[in-house]
Amino acid sequence: MISLATARERWTSFLGCFVAVALGVAVVAMSMLVLLSDGRRVPERLAGAPVLVQSPAGTQTGGVFAENPPWAPERAEELRRELAELPGVADAVTDRSFYAQAADTEQRRGERQGHPWSTAALAEYGLSEGGPPVTADEIVVDRSLGLTPGEPVTVLTARGPQRFSVSGTMNGPGYYVTDRRASELAGGVRTIGLLLEPGSDATRVAAAARRVVDGDGTVLTGASRNALAPKQDEMTRWIGGQVLTAMALLSAFVAVFIVSSAFAFAVAQRRREFGLLRTIGATPRQLKRLVYGEALAVGAVGAAAGALLGVVLAPTVNGVLIDAGFQPAGFEVRLRWWVPVAAFAAGLVVALAGVGAASRRASRVKPLEAMREAAVDSRPMTRRRWAVGLAATGVGAVCSAGTAFAGADGMVLLTLGTAMSLTVGLTLLAPALVGPVIRTLTRPFVRRPGVTAVLVRENMITAVRRTSATLAPVLATVAFAVLITSTVQMTQSADTARQAAAVRAEAAVVPRGAPGLSDAAVARIEGTSLLSTTVYGGEGGAALSAAGVASGFEQAYAVPAPRGDTVVVTAAVAAAHGWRKDHVASLTLEDGRTRRLHVTAVVDDSMPYQVFLPRDLVRDHDPSALADVAYRTTPAPARLLPGLRADEVSVEAYAASDDAEEDRLVWIFTLMLVAVSAGYTAIAVASTLLTATAGRVRDFRVLRLSGATPRQVLRALAAETCCVVVLGAALGLAVAAPGLFGAAHGLREELGLPVELSLAWSWLTGVVTGCLLLGTAATVLPAHLALRRMRRA
């Protein structure tokens, strides 16, 4: 009863908690809904086969998404034959792909849309017009290209532009040529589709297929066929997952932080009331339960609103994520009833976790405190507060030291860890810091005439708790915003510098709207190109990014080029797989064949690929391999034809643009994180100041009665708020600094590049200005209203 009544009465002080919990729960519910919706779909062109067999997966490392290594060609044919003979199976079809692209279409890196006609049997869709390709220069294309049977069409393949005649059109994507023509262009087999005889049971066939395959592949049926979704989509979702997880974690942290600081302040303001309850017979335990009850009431309302908001917003946010490139196109959110329920429960836990310390404090209020006109904060620092504050600061210091020696992955975590622990630590220690700092800083002003300086100084020092409660969210906002943006800024400049530093060439030729450069495009450039492919080798057949290189490579990169049956690998790969110079590495290539290659050199990890092979070797085994980039080493500009889908740019521009997409994603990610943390803390600042101002009406009256004009009162208040915000911003910078120094040091050591410690000034200015405006508004406006009411009364 009391909890509910108080929550109703003191809604301003609970507003911050409510919004924090609601937003936190909304973000968590939304993230969980999006994360848990399995967006993977079996490609339409395979969906017609009830049972699909996938080649065995190689070792997967986190963040690397490569297709499974293909079967060896003989093994694939053997499997196909055995599977075709199973009872109930009408036919078994091997699926192969190659690069094919018509003019005026866009394809992304890694896309392979060409297939042999036989695989069309596996598709969900069929011919809409015309017939299958019969001769080598006939092709079936997607109806949406607007071509009709009999028309000529130029299709870009890995060799270059090739002329075909359209024999038919289909109701779905893909370029289908005769099996014989496809075998010249396509790589190895990764999937075998089974077409069933009418009336046979897919589950039984799948079981029989499993016995045949016996570990040399995965048999998929029904929904499990979704595992065949393009790895590109999976990677996009993985990135999206990272974004959402980080956002949810940060929201949860900030929500607990805000709830605890808001409740701590609310309890400090209500000592008289708690004292009164103690005198009329409330035990310490009952007070503790009362505060928990209030948190539960506010938390339940906030969490319910948040869960609802999350469900409503999930589809919209999903759309934004798709636009931003964090989710594959066409991905849909599936509503699961238990997700909002779990998020609601999490909201209650957050509220209860945040209120723990405050409730303990409330239970220690003595009955006699009801008699005091408590305006001065007695003993804001408890022994426990000292201990936890110092411990958190210590953890932060250790994390920041760790940042300097961590790798790229650990650096992000440690930097965030530094910021979180230092934020908690300094917030807890704030009451002890505020007094001395302000006393020192304001000493020169106090001697001057005028009332503002004296009022500001004494108010901040005596009401240490109010000062700290306002300061805490400002500190958190500034610390997170500066840390996140500055680290990203430094990392980006370092990456670009690394890329550009590695190559010596006149210019770079890059694909435009195509997955890569064809042989025809590369042939027009005097210099060197890197034919991109994937090889599988070493421990557990891990996927490695590889490039086929020819003459000119040595000149451009100043490292020895592989020749004949040899290979050059980077140091990290060599270490991971136990390869050394003059040893033999066994590598499986794109067509499924395995070659034993002599390691002629181990190069450093700054190279853009992990494995370097002779260009001809790559072309032999991967007929559809494309070059990611070609470098021109002669002064004369390359003569490029428009149909080749290639552009010439400067090496620096390429280095930057290569990262541009990644950078864009990272910036959006950064923006989201900063928006979440800053949005929250803004609410906290506003709600704390609103509450504080509401509780100071008596002070205003005394000031007015002692002769202060309303303007003087407001000026003193505004000045006080500005001082607190500036102090909070300074402490926030102090929190961010160790993390930034650590990150700069780590980047220098890890990349060997002179990374300058840089501060994202624009962000810092923006965030501090925002806090100042918001804080001043949240103090001056309610005070102005209170003063006017006073004048009227």
Binding site: M1, I2, A282, P284, P367
Partner: protein
């Protein structure tokens, strides 16, 4: 100056028969209270012994800083004496932990403050039933209404403190103190924040509780007119009991005695 010395003998005797029906509601035995430590220590109460008899109204007077509020806090179990014993209904408070002390206060002691001290979020009726709820009881609506009616506020059940006058708020506070039927009702300057009309009403209410219900009331006041309502007036100075007179002596006589203390050495 006349100095009344109360022998602590009675205390020693009463501790032995706590179950007796003649148990005194409140007794203080050689109670000393010091605030602060070392050189800065201030003695607020200096070896005070007294008791408050059942069904009587006692006023505690004295100049500012004489220790009258401290006496009240110690007697009500809100504060613990540095040395000495306080017994409520025969139970020695020194032997109780914070929880047991709270429960005892809840059951035996009612408290009324100068600044009404109602929970602003709750209505008058909810404020009144608060002690019962804190004791884990479900108050009957009639019970609450009856208590509020007794203080003349039957029509203000659903009002929040902000909607009541000072005198009405103080009467709600008295109703709240009375609902648990305490053995003793302590009042700390109950009329200090009221005008004379409201003061008279509150004091008559307290007097009536003593006369018709046999309630024990202990009231701290600096107003001789208020003290005149009491059966017995105790006068404190510098933490010691220095005088005692009957309330029947009248406000002027009381004022004369206390004025002598204010201007005294």
């Amino acid at each position: 100056m006349c100095r009344v010395v109360l022998l602590p003998l009675s205390c020693i005797m009463t501790t032995t028969h706590t179950t007796s029906a003649a148990v005194r509601p409140v007794e203080l035995c050689s109670v000393t209270k010091r605030h602060g430590m070392g050189d800065q220590a201030v003695t607020a109460l200096d070896d005070v012994s007294t008791h408050f008899a059942a069904g009587t109204m006692t006023a505690v007077m004295g100049p500012s800083g004489s220790g009258k509020s401290t006496l009240l806090h110690c007697a009500a179990g809100l504060d613990r004496p540095t040395t000495g014993e306080v017994l409520i209904g025969g139970t020695d408070l020194g032997g109780l932990d914070e929880n047991a002390l709270t429960v005892l206060r809840r059951e035996r002691v009612g408290f009324v403050f100068q600044a009404f001290n109602l929970v602003s979020a709750l209505t008058a009726a909810q404020n009144v039933e608060l002690p019962l709820r804190l004791a884990g009881r479900r108050p009957a609506a009639e019970e609450v209404r009856a208590v509020l009616a007794a203080v003349g506020l039957a029509d203000r059940l659903g009002h929040r403190p902000g909607e009541l006058s000072g005198g009405q708020q103080q009467r709600v506070a008295i109703a709240r103190a009375m609902i648990a039927r305490p053995a003793v009702l302590f009042a700390d300057e109950p009329t200090g924040a009221l005008d004379s009309g409201a003061s008279r009403m509150v004091l008559r209410l307290l007097r009536d509780l003593v006369d018709s219900h046999g309630q024990t009331v202990v009231m701290v006041t600096h107003d001789p007119a208020a003290a005149a309502y009491a059966d017995r007036v105790l006068v404190l100075a510098d933490g010691r009991l220095v005088d005692e007179l009957a309330g029947a002596a009248g406000a002027e006589a009381i004022a004369a005695r206390t004025a002598a203390l204010e201007v005294g050495p």
